[in-house]
Symmetry: D2
């Protein structure tokens, strides 16, 4: 028995030609919200995972890498982030990392899918760790375009932790030049934004990472790319940080460690000063791919990933 | 037809609980050498690949990352590497990168399996690019222990590009403290060595990466770890650089770029000064895992990976 | 989304070179009994299924074929089966079909694994349909060797609905010549027995089907083989009927239909007179494979299947 | 190594929820004809196989079952089949079985795809066994509608050994009431036809088998269904025999054996008198599914399978 391969599996196709299979231990929840198929699974390899429309969104074992890499560079780049907007992030782990910042006075979280938030609250306690109960949280079930394209509030930081833009889903409108222009308008002076930008694997990086970088570069005065390892997403994940002022890449390891000590009230496992310096020093082929990208994502020429 | 998943696949189990599947286009070669099963396959995703005992060893699409990361940090750390020993590396791509260094006067390559070398010469021209014909090459079909444990030659650099230590294979004796002591003895003063050290994925890094680091640290005065993205190996790959003198981590981007300009005669796609700085700035959890490892690999307590 | 393949799967290897994959909807139960891994899963294709040690034992969608084919030929071959022994059959569906016979006054069911019976009672109501509550049932948690090799009761029919003989499991002792001799001793005059005998697929039939047939033929005066389609087991399943007197193959469709009308009190979906005639008319290559088998299964030379 | 699962696989989805995986040894041919993707693969389990558009068409290990079941019932039902038309059957194995009949004076084979025929001639010698060289063969590269809907020749037997009707392919027009009417018109008095009719697995039989049976029943005076085990197609395969006169189901085992002895000049492995009787004695649920089918396949309401 020991020698036989497992008989229950979770498969995810990263491309039509490539899949990752993970032995599946349990299915805690499986249902359909008005927007998508929602599942919570247990695996030995990655622990408990959220799956939306068949795509693994977040795994207990390495979500700390994804979420620390998403939140701390952008918030520490800002001198004093008090009001933060999170678009997406239903698991509550993005919220958890935002709330770890002592400077944060209000965290507005906008997620389209109430069912996802409800399921995550119930089944993913490791992810949110009670973040939804923090009095600084303003949770709104709404389209992220409401506060960003039609609202008038401004924020010190905007976190776009959105599902990938797939053809069937509504998220693709949140990956356009027009939307990013609204993001900039909703930022206070010195405001900063970060976008989870899809796979940074060499054969996938031009699917989303480079056009998102290019499109943000057409809108913001300062844009930086980085990536972190997220095994459960297939290896490497890209991020783009867009700023109205501060430049995260200019911060030294020492300065980052100092800001962490002053401003972050929970222990970090992935991120620190040296990690920060590593994040922004991308290999040559990736820098060249980002620099040579010419595609702008617009509503007329939207971006879809597999 | 377009919507159906591919029907021919190459599967590799990275752990008993995790596999990567790649759509398979062709099988160019499949045979058994005296030591292992040898296969050459074609895939759309990764191009042409060498597979030994079911494990993908090297893929056309991203071998440049693996091999540039293996060779250039160690050779550029040395002030003037003239004699280089390669253990393993049957595809010839390690040899190719070594030969790209103008300083190199002799490259001794020792591979146990003549059949692997023959098959790679024939089927992997993209990998070796004619390297085997370079007059500086001294190719020997032998156990790497011959020159390292029983020989008397010395080298400026030793490259251990060996198959993973699996229980059935002979390579595990090349991952021990005793072997590494011999490696140090075969190095000239200022000599440097590098070891491909297995997966650096968070859930796999203690399988080989951290004990190899720990074991080399017990032998060499200076040891540095780094990692690079190799999607075809599952995401991230670890390397350990062991030195009798020079410290690669002390070199700035500028110094690396200067040495590349002076000493490397072929264009690089992955590696340059900024890449170098990124390679050695590891994230916090990985530095902690390396630092806290206590296992020494010995002949009595050898290392086996899945 | 519609075009993507499912992301949750149940895999079963029928041989090291062949697997069946079924999209998995839910995992109702997963645990380890003292004897084996016990799972109950939901699938769209086959409905609810019992899985022991990774092997699908019985599926809601086609268990009626497996169980009707197992029970009705043997019980209808007997003139008046009153006392029936079932070895194995934890799901309760074998019991259900036995109890459908008006002639049956007592059904002794012996299963080694109390946990399997408990899980099936709770999770497989479609299978047992309340059979365990029938007052004619005498359920014993015991090794089937207890009543058969060490007991003194006799039965009109003995049903060996046992797990496949695998190397790690205890069932292999229940597939030997010695055990079958005891089965014959426990049969009353005119008594009949039936054995589920493994795959009848052309490339698998000599793994268990033909040696079980040969071994029973060395013990019983009359032995008949037949097979039925059980898609969830990979296609075709073999059975061997061993008799101290009556010959099921001599019964015409008309006689079978008459006996069903008189003796079977629940509607049948798979089995009737024409089906019966078809069951026993095996194709030429299969008759030849059975006739030419020479292997006897003994305790010294036991049978193991993959 | 022995315990690891194979790393090269051929997968076929029989439904979106079910797949068969077979370990893959070699890819002998892979190309695209004007009509479809054509592949020849080697497997340990099934030997050499023809694959069209990802669907296994015919496997060395069990093609004898498929082809003997296709040809001998229909040809032996006819008193003296001299002129036979085969539509499809590119591998040449259908032709081989037709030519085994001494009565056959002319075998017209019509296949749309010259490339398939060429590849099979070269790579599938086990299948055709030189049949294409028999002087009785008239091979025509053409749409089967040419001789059947637009021609004026008549035949004693017509064999429709066509690919499954899939949405993307042209074959679906050859599965309609209109086409079957032309088939009847092209038959001589006492003429007989047979159609390969898709999977006979319980959960798949209403996909093609029952509507093909129903549609042929609306055209021909006498129609019989049967099925045979073809593991490489997933288990059980359905056939429908349509006749202008002779009734194959009325023939006894003795009569079949007599006709084989007189008329078939090559040894048979699957088919003989007893096999014949078994073929036509279908289980109850299958007879009921055939009898209760109401769907007629027309050009306006064509049949498509997955």
């Amino acid at each position: 028995m020991a020698a036989s391969p497992p008989n229950k599996w979770f498969w995810e196709f990263f491309t039509p030609d490539m899949l990752q299979g993970i032995a599946l231990e349990g299915i805690l929840y499986s249902g359909n919200s008005p927007y998508q198929k929602v599942e919570v699974i247990d695996t030995n390899l990655y622990g408990r995972c959220l799956v939306l429309d068949g795509k693994l969104q977040s795994a207990e074992a390495d979500e700390f890498i994804y979420h620390e890499a998403l939140i701390h560079p952008v918030l520490l780049a800002h001198p004093n982030p008090r009001r933060v907007l999170i678009a997406g992030g239903g698991e509550g782990a993005t919220l958890r990392e935002v709330l770890a910042h002592r400077t944060v006075e209000q965290a507005v979280m906008v997620d389209l899918d109430e069912e996802v938030v409800r399921v995550c609250k119930e089944h993913l306690p490791h992810h949110h760790q009670g973040a939804f109960d923090d009095p600084r949280v303003d949770l709104r079930i709404a389209d992220a375009r409401d506060p960003i394209m039609h609202g008038s509030e401004t924020f010190d930081a905007i976190i776009l932790d959105l599902p990938d833009p797939i053809e069937e889903g509504p998220a693709y409108l949140l990956y356009t030049q027009k939307f990013y222009q609204s993001v900039m308008e909703r930022l206070a002076p010195d405001g900063v934004a970060v976008v989870q930008a899809g796979s940074a694997l060499p054969m996938l990086l031009s699917e989303a990472f480079t056009p998102i970088f290019r499109t943000l570069s057409s809108v913001f005065p300062l844009v930086r790319s980085y990536r972190a390892e997220v095994a459960s997403f297939g290896g490497l994940w890209g991020y783009v940080l867009a700023s109205r002022g501060p430049d995260p890449a200019a911060l030294t390891a020492e300065e980052i460690d100092k800001r962490i000590a002053e401003r972050v009230q929970s222990p970090l496992r992935f991120y620190d000063g040296i990690t920060h310096e590593g994040l922004f020093r991308l290999p040559k082929y990736l820098r060249e791919a980002l620099a040579s990208e010419t595609r702008l994502i617009t509503e007329d020429a939207p971006l879809f990933v597999y």
